[in-house]
Subunit: 475 residues, 2 copies
């Protein structure tokens, strides 16, 4: 019995088989219904009792499932702080902006103040300018300035995803006084597990983990126990690089410094998970030439989003058609040639897509230098040669036997081999070229490569066929 | 001036433009050289001084760049605990297994004992059976049993990625005594920021964060401050689901319980990041029909890994060829038809790939029920209809004008529309079917869909062409 079978048996014996996701779901539905009912019957106290016991993530989920009337009551029954805790967990930022807009601005400002800056900025980036003005009117000046500043940071940089709620101490403090600071700031800070050490000019000079603080003696100086080799990121660093650093070092948070090494924020690991997922979804979508986050409920919008690529590729495909058209006499002389067009273009396209996927990932993985790039190209060339040789030989034999025409088999096999080599090279070279030009190589989609390789494959195919035409027809 | 320009200017003024990644790299090279030199000159003390100051992730990186001789010295100069700290960060698990094999077994056992169970199990899963026996011989019985147990957990489940080093306390302890336990366990536990509350039977009944402990009064009881609504995962839960939970709730760790709700481990957020990346890389690779983690240094291995898909698809493509062959008379009568084969198959293949990518992601996103599936199919059908209508009309006009043959244009346009609708439906249906059959839908790659859609497209094309043949030739 495998481990999983063993467990299934044990769970079944314990009568637990139905637990997992379905139970969580039903559970959620029950909670959701109860909350809605409590709001409808205006039972403020019982609503608060029940709602505040839930995890903030569940609170956020439930809020999105309420109707307008119910949400208005919820705003009345909860303090701005309590709403802020739930709003910190809202996943759909545009919905958050909608909720702010339906609050009275003063209340919205209170919620905004109580939220973590990184989360609230993500939401406010979706708000209309005039709404922002209304909220800012009621915000404390410093908070307003902070949010305004962060709204300006370049999208997808460290600055755009950092939070400004961190704990900083001085190096000449004792462990005891540091712990005191921590206890006071514990409620607001996004993480209290890393404490950053700064000098008088607010420059980052060290880091102490809460673990270090706990195990150190009360009277030790921070300067004695801190780790001075603190790894930080600059405010303009790309979010992908930030994610990689946090991942490599298994950090819970990474400090963000400005150009003067002044500590201005932290990026926590939970923000980075979203970045990693976002970036890989982009790569994935790029490979298929489609926006995978398109709205499933609206086929018209989906079509509008997918069409630009398809029409562009259709025009690229027309150049293949016009190339074939150029060889129409050849085709009418030997119509057998038409039979294998799709085999050759298809196989080369598939090989090119594989090569592209590998190259895009490899380019994203490391900052490849000149030698690294040459290596990728050389490797794809060799791989293409091998693959071309094997698939070419395979189809040569198949065609030779099937059509009893080994000259034709040779032409098809040779053409397929050359087409694959070219497609593999293109699959590796095109993303590199785009990288060079500063375009995200993930845009070089599979459909693009296969459409492009259709063109080169047909060109190769008909040229080889023309050379061997006599032999093909003779048999 | 944009924010990024403003920053560039500021950085330039501060003379800092070269800092970022290149500096980290050069820095690493310098450190690496220095370590190698210290090992070569057998300066144990200075080596220890320098090496132990580095972050454990850097230590791990440097170890992988040493030669055999240098590593042997490193094992001699460092304690097993110090080596364990670095080994916890090793990314390539197979290399870790190699290193264990080159140590004397007793030393290896010490390192194994000192590592976190989840990390060491990942490495030992790559070790040979006889090596394992040798290490186990020197391991404390309990540790050996723990590792053996975890080596048996199904790959890609919670059990396989959990660590067994967590902090558990009883609910009738005071905050003060809990803090005392924490301080003692701080050195070994993988995280001390979450403390789990268990009853006498080791069943999980609550959770307290270190933040809660810090802000509570010393004499408070754990039962008063703990949160009893603790979210946990079962040992046999799929790692993808675990990752989703940690991500949704922004947890730093998730407790793992067995079928009896007994707490047996924790999964920390850093393990989950690797899972998320691994799973999305799999989706991405699936879309291109290639293993993107193939070894770039070995084109032969790369070719061997890519060929099975290509050859399979080549055979599928041959059925398209034999279909066209069936219509060879039609082609020799109207060779113009051959010109547009690749346009139609290409565009339908591209549309099908888009539809596939969206469907695969949507299937992975939520546990879609019956209605959800029908919705996806219906939505793809409508999207396909719209896309088909627009691209079909476009090519009809182009061909009509280009070839001065509007009957031909109509045939091509109609064929393209139908081919796209079928491809879109296939793109949505095939991953669902695979899901039903228990196969990972991500295997239904773009190349597969486009090769399959070649077949249906050609069938549609020639059938429509045959019907309108008279009109095409008339013009």
């Amino acid at each position: 019995m495998s481990t999983s079978e063993r467990y299934e048996k044990l769970f079944a014996e314990a009568g637990l088989e139905g637990l997992k996701m379905t139970e969580v779901k039903n559970n959620h539905q029950t909670k959701q219904n109860k909350i809605a009912k409590l709001l409808d019957s205006q039972s403020a106290t019982r609503f608060r009792q029940f709602f505040l016991k839930l995890h903030v993530y569940q609170q956020a989920q439930i809020i999105t499932e309420l109707d307008f009337q119910q949400r208005q009551r919820l705003y009345r029954y909860l303090t701005a702080h309590e709403v802020a805790d739930a709003f910190n967990e809202l996943e759909d930022k545009a919905i958050g902006a909608k909720y702010f807009a339906e609050m009275i601005p003063k209340y919205a400002a209170k919620v905004i103040s109580a939220m973590y800056t990184d989360n609230v900025v993500d939401i406010l980036a979706n708000s209309r300018q005039e709404d922002l003005g209304r909220y800012f009117h009621f915000l404390p000046d410093q908070k307003a300035a902070e949010i305004r500043e962060m709204l300006h940071y370049q999208d997808k940089t460290a600055g755009a995803i950092m939070a400004t709620e961190f704990v900083a101490i001085l190096s000449n403090q004792t462990v005891k006084s540091a712990m005191h600071v921590l206890k006071i700031q514990a409620k607001q800070a996004e993480t209290i597990y890393y404490v950053y050490v700064v000098d008088q000019r607010e420059q980052l000079i060290g880091i102490v983990t809460l673990r270090d603080l706990l195990t150190a003696s009360d009277n030790a100086l921070i300067s004695e126990i801190m780790s001075p080799q603190v790894i930080s990121t600059r405010v303009d660093t790309d979010q992908e690089e930030v994610a990689q650093t946090i991942r490599d070092y298994n950090f819970l948070a990474l400090p963000v410094v400005d150009f003067d090494n002044k500590l201005i924020g932290i990026i926590t690991v939970d923000d980075v998970i979203d970045v990693i997922d976002e970036e890989s979804a982009e790569d994935y979508a790029g490979l298929a030439g489609v926006d995978i986050d398109e709205n499933p409920d609206n086929p018209v919008m989906a079509a509008i989003k997918r069409l630009p690529w398809l029409i562009t590729l259709l025009f690229l495909g027309m150049s293949t058609a016009s190339l074939i058209s150029h060889y129409e006499d050849l085709v009418s002389e030997a119509s057998i040639l038409a039979v294998f067009i799709s085999s050759i273009t298809g196989t080369a396209g598939n090989a090119g897509t594989q090569s592209l996927a590998v190259a895009v990932r490899r380019l994203a993985d490391k900052d490849a230098d000149h030698r690294g790039l040459l290596k990728i190209i050389f490797s794809e060339l060799l791989t293409g040669l091998l693959i071309g040789l094997i698939t070419g030989t395979t189809i040569m034999v198949i065609v030779g036997i099937w059509k009893q025409n080994f000259s034709l088999g040779l032409v098809i096999g040779l053409a397929m081999m050359c087409a694959i080599i070219v497609a593999n090279l293109a699959g590796a070279l095109i993303p590199m070229l785009m990288n060079r030009l500063g375009v995200d190589p993930a845009v070089a989609s599979g459909p693009f490569i296969s459409t492009l390789s259709d063109l080169t494959s047909v060109l190769i195919y008909f040229n080889i066929a023309q050379i061997f035409l006599r032999f093909i027809l003779k048999q």
